[in-house]
């Protein structure tokens, strides 16, 4: 495994994002040096100048926010045997998708870019899985470096990535945190994907669902619980949509507002 020619070639790409997930990987490369025993990085704009196009696994950070970005994603998909969505933006559309639920995409564009709005190409935000097939995702804003290492290991072993499908409450309870919801504070822990070690509730901040929503969440019950915690409908919706605004069926409507 340690021989240079047996290393798996990987590349990192970024779209609309803060690049925080890639920075987390730079961190992970320093704390988990053994990563470099099994992979060879051929392209990583955030961290190196070289640009190799011969890669087996592509890690993609960021959401797709422009029609013209789709072409780049298609090329990555064509080259890579495995595409891994890296972080909330690539995985769920992330906070970028908040623009999809504004009344007018054109007004949002003008609000952001002012009188230069027309210079900037915009279309409704999509997670990369809405543009190309994605084989695995590493959730979170930002990703957890330990989880990144685990996913790399599992993928190289030919196993499932090992991302939990259960909610944050499980990890929060195992840490014996005092439940924020029971103290009347808003938290999306019961329906949000675990794997973060319940880091926000551990430090007293309610979960915002950055790792996406679990499969088959009981959203009605969650709304009732947040209502009980004293949140208004608007506040509840704001919390639900912070990281999870993207819905497939909103694209058509949103596109008409530009």
């Amino acid at each position: 495994m340690t021989k240079e020619n047996t290393k798996v070639k990987v590349a990192f790409f970024d779209f609309a994002s803060c690049e925080g997930c890639q920075l987390t990987i730079v961190d992970a490369l320093q704390t988990h040096l053994s990563l470099l025993d099994v992979v060879e990085i051929v392209q990583f704009r955030e961290a190196m100048t070289e640009k190799g196009e011969d890669y087996l696994i592509a890690f993609v950070e960021g959401s797709c926010n422009r029609k013209s970005d789709e072409e780049r994603l298609f090329k990555i998909r064509e080259q890579a045997a495995l595409v891994v969505a890296l972080g909330a933006c690539a995985h769920t559309g992330g906070v970028n998708a908040l623009k999809n639920i504004q009344p007018s995409l054109q007004e949002t564009r003008e609000y952001v870019y002012g009188d230069k709005a027309d210079w900037y190409e915009v279309y409704p935000t999509r997670p990369i899985s809405a543009v190309i097939d994605v084989d695995a995702f590493i959730p979170g804003c930002p990703i957890d470096r330990g989880e990144f290492v685990k996913v790399v290991k599992n993928v190289l072993l030919g196993k499932r990535p090992g991302i939990p499908d259960y909610p944050v409450c499980v990890e929060c309870k195992l840490k014996e945190n005092v439940c924020l919801l029971l103290e009347g504070k808003p938290c999306l822990g019961p329906i949000s994907r675990a794997g973060c070690g319940a880091i926000c509730p551990t430090y007293g901040d309610g979960c915002e669902g950055c790792r996406g929503i679990i499969p088959h969440p009981n959203e009605n019950a969650m709304k009732d619980v947040l209502d009980e915690a004293g949140l208004t409908l608007n506040e509840i919706m704001a919390r639900f949509t912070m990281y999870n605004a993207y819905q497939e069926d909103q694209i058509e409507t949103a596109e008409k507002t530009i």
Binding site: D37, V170, L174, C179, L182, A221, M222
Partner: protein, 343 residues
């Protein structure tokens, strides 16, 4: 052994002395709640706690526990991890004592779980009598756990100035003799003890509308009761009810390997029947796909299945699942609804 007493001021020195030779685990304050933690300073110990977030089962079945290490060469080497930490659990309530008694059965009756039983052998339980209910959610009186005659090594009951200490085992007697400075109880103290134990009884209320002994038969006839759908509608499937339960013991086992695939560890960690993946098997079938089926399974375990296997009800009435549920699902209310609506 004759009843002994410890002056209240002697508790700290006892704990301190035990700490020389044991890990002492006891209730500590955590924000507005309490948790069992390893004592580092006896002054932090809180015998006046109401209940803890997780029960003391975590001492015997750690939330994540290493079972083995292995190498992955041509001839793999596997080595059991059986390190045991001599431990005294100080200040368990009698409901949790019952929970541990049940776990002892689970992990030793049909199959000796060497990991559990090895730690259990080196774990001593010093329990404390609850003289008033911890809160409105406990239903220990219904489940017969508001006091204990067995299951402890030492049992404390608080009087005005002293703790009465009852030894349940020889090991308990030896612990007290070696580490404590107890003296024999006086007649007056024995009278005060009886008075206190008598006075506590009416302070606790029954919460079930029926005798708990009727649970297995009642649940037997309730498999298709509409309440399960109602619970399924409200349940978030967050798994908190089972995580905090002193008698839930389900676990999963997974291997973790190093990056170069030269060695790894086998870990077991708590699992929950309330989580969607719990009953999913290869091929995609899930035997308890809906939340209603999962909640039914939990209540059936507590009131029927465990009884059928281990001759004891699977619920000790600690009330933790009720307290922890953000959707306000109550096992007491659910059992009462079934009882009240039966034909």
């Amino acid at each position: 052994m004759k009843l002994q007493v410890l002056d209240k001021a002697e508790i700290s020195p006892l704990v301190e002395a035990l700490m020389e030779d044991y890990r002492v685990v006891a209730p500590h304050a955590k924000g507005s709640k309490f948790t069992f933690e390893t004592v580092t300073d006896p002054a932090d110990l809180r015998l006046d706690y109401d209940t803890t977030i997780l029960p003391p089962k975590k001492v015997l079945q750690p939330t994540k526990d290493r079972l083995a290490t292995f190498t992955m060469g041509e001839i793999p080497q596997i080595e059991d991890v059986l390190e045991v930490t001599p431990t005294v659990v100080f200040g368990t309530h009698t409901c949790d004592l019952k929970g541990i008694q049940l776990l002892d059965e689970v992990f030793s009756r049909d199959f000796d779980d060497t990991k559990y039983t090895a730690q259990r052998k080196e774990t001593f339980l010093i329990s404390i009598e609850c003289l008033s209910p911890c809160d409105e959610n406990a239903f220990c009186k219904d489940m017969g756990t508001m006091t204990a005659n067995e299951g402890f090594d030492l049992h404390l009951t608080e009087l005005d100035d002293v703790y009465v200490v009852d030894a349940g085992t020889e090991a308990g007697e030896e612990l007290l003799a070696k580490y404590g400075s107890a003296r024999e109880a006086t007649e007056a103290e024995k009278q005060e003890l009886n008075q206190k134990l008598g006075a506590k009884w009416p302070k606790f209320n029954y919460k079930l509308n029926f005798e708990a002994a009727k649970l297995p038969a009642m649940l037997e006839a309730s498999f298709n009761h509409p309440i399960w759908d109602d619970m399924g509608e409200r349940c978030l499937a967050c798994g908190s009810c089972t995580t905090v339960c002193p008698t839930c013991y389900c676990f999963n086992v997974a291997d973790e390997v190093d990056m170069l695939l030269t060695q790894g560890t086998r870990e077991r960690y708590w699992d929950s029947c309330q989580l969607e993946e719990f009953a999913a098997v290869a091929g995609g079938e899930n035997f308890r796909e809906g939340r209603a089926a999962r909640q039914r399974h939990r209540l059936m375990r507590k009131g029927k299945y465990i009884y059928e296997k281990f001759d004891e009800l699977g619920c000790v009435g600690c009330g933790r699942c009720v307290r922890t549920c953000v959707a306000k699902i109550s096992i007491v209310e659910s059992f009462n609804t079934i009882y009240n609506g039966r034909k």
